[in-house]
Amino acid sequence: MNEQLRTIAGLDRVIHEPGRLMIVSYLAGVEECDFLFLMRQTEMSKGNLSSHLSRLEKAGYVEIEKTYRGKVPMTLLRLSPAGEAAFKKYLRDLDSVR
């Protein structure tokens, strides 16, 4: 197997899925955001977004904080340092196989 194919085979599958890639891309551009912002931007359903976020949280790529703004429940999301590093590596890997 040549080097490029090996890189493709080694792409981070957690990030590589289009829905999660969209989420990570948005989170990479903000300090933090809430669930609604991400839902509006990605146009995913609530269930779909929740499930992708759970997967990313399980991988340690996303930090999820349940809080309140006034009396309104709010779910704050941010990319963890591990998620940031994984996303950078993913982009580097993609660049190297172009």
């Binding site: 903000v30 300090e31 933090e32 955001c33 912002f37 703004r69 660049d95």
Partner: protein, 229 residues
């Protein structure tokens, strides 16, 4: 690596540019300037003028700032969601790079505008000192010039960011430029009296445009009713 422009642009939208916050803020400040200019003409000069400026512009800034915060909190965040843009010190990956490219373009444009502005002001200052010149006090020239720069900055913002979503703002821009030319550039007029009129006209235009944008945003974007997450 630079991300898709739409992705990058969409991160800018909820900051307020799409709901008229910026225009409302500048409109309120312009009206503050207009009030200050008008009071100047009937009341004080010198040190008293400085105090008057603080007494009017600080509350105007406060009103603009708190109005912006309130619109964000009660109008935009419940509809578009809440986010904190990434800080310069922590810029990362693709989207941040796209943002940096735009920031550089904006900085270069502002630098060019500032250089041109400085040259024009310098020429006018020389003109003021000529004995045969009509009375163009420097404060009046600077005030008028400041609003010329604001209109130029608005045109720049509109061409690069606003024209797709709100095509009717071409009219606002045309009216701003025409209003500026009609009020601000008649030969042999007293600039000290002219710039408050420009401030009033621009303030009303920006406030009106900002409120219309906000109303349009409220009509088209409905707040979320589901508990999130």
């Amino acid at each position: 690596m630079v991300m898709n422009d739409d992705l990058s642009n969409s991160l800018d939208q909820p900051k307020g540019g799409d709901a008229g916050i910026g225009e409302i803020f500048v409109g309120v400040m312009s009206l503050g300037f207009a009030l200050k200019g008008w009071l100047d003409s009937i009341w004080v000069d010198g040190f008293g003028g400085m105090l008057l400026m603080l007494a009017i512009l600080l509350p105007a800034w406060g009103i603009g700032y708190w109005a912006s915060r309130a619109i964000l909190k009660y109008v935009i965040w419940p509809r578009a969601g809440y986010f904190v843009p990434i800080s310069d010190s922590r810029k990362r990956t693709g989207i941040a790079v796209a943002g940096r490219v735009r920031t550089r373009l904006t900085l270069i444009t502002v630098l060019i505008l500032t250089a041109v502005s400085a040259a024009v002001v310098a020429c006018l200052a020389v003109f003021v000192k000529r004995p045969s010149a009509v009375n163009y006090p420097l404060e009046g020239i600077l005030g008028t010039f400041m609003f010329a720069c604001l209109v130029a900055a608005y045109a720049f913002w509109f061409v690069f960011n606003g024209r797709r979503e709100y095509p009717w703002k071409w009219l606002v821009l045309v009216f701003l430029v025409l209003g500026f030319l009609v009020i601000g550039l008649p030969v042999r007029m007293d600039y000290l009296a002219v710039w408050p009129r420009i401030a009033l006209f621009n303030g009303v235009m920006w406030l009106g445009s900002g409120l219309a944008t906000l109303l349009s945003y409220v009509r088209h974007a409905k707040p979320s009713t589901v508990e999130m997450g």
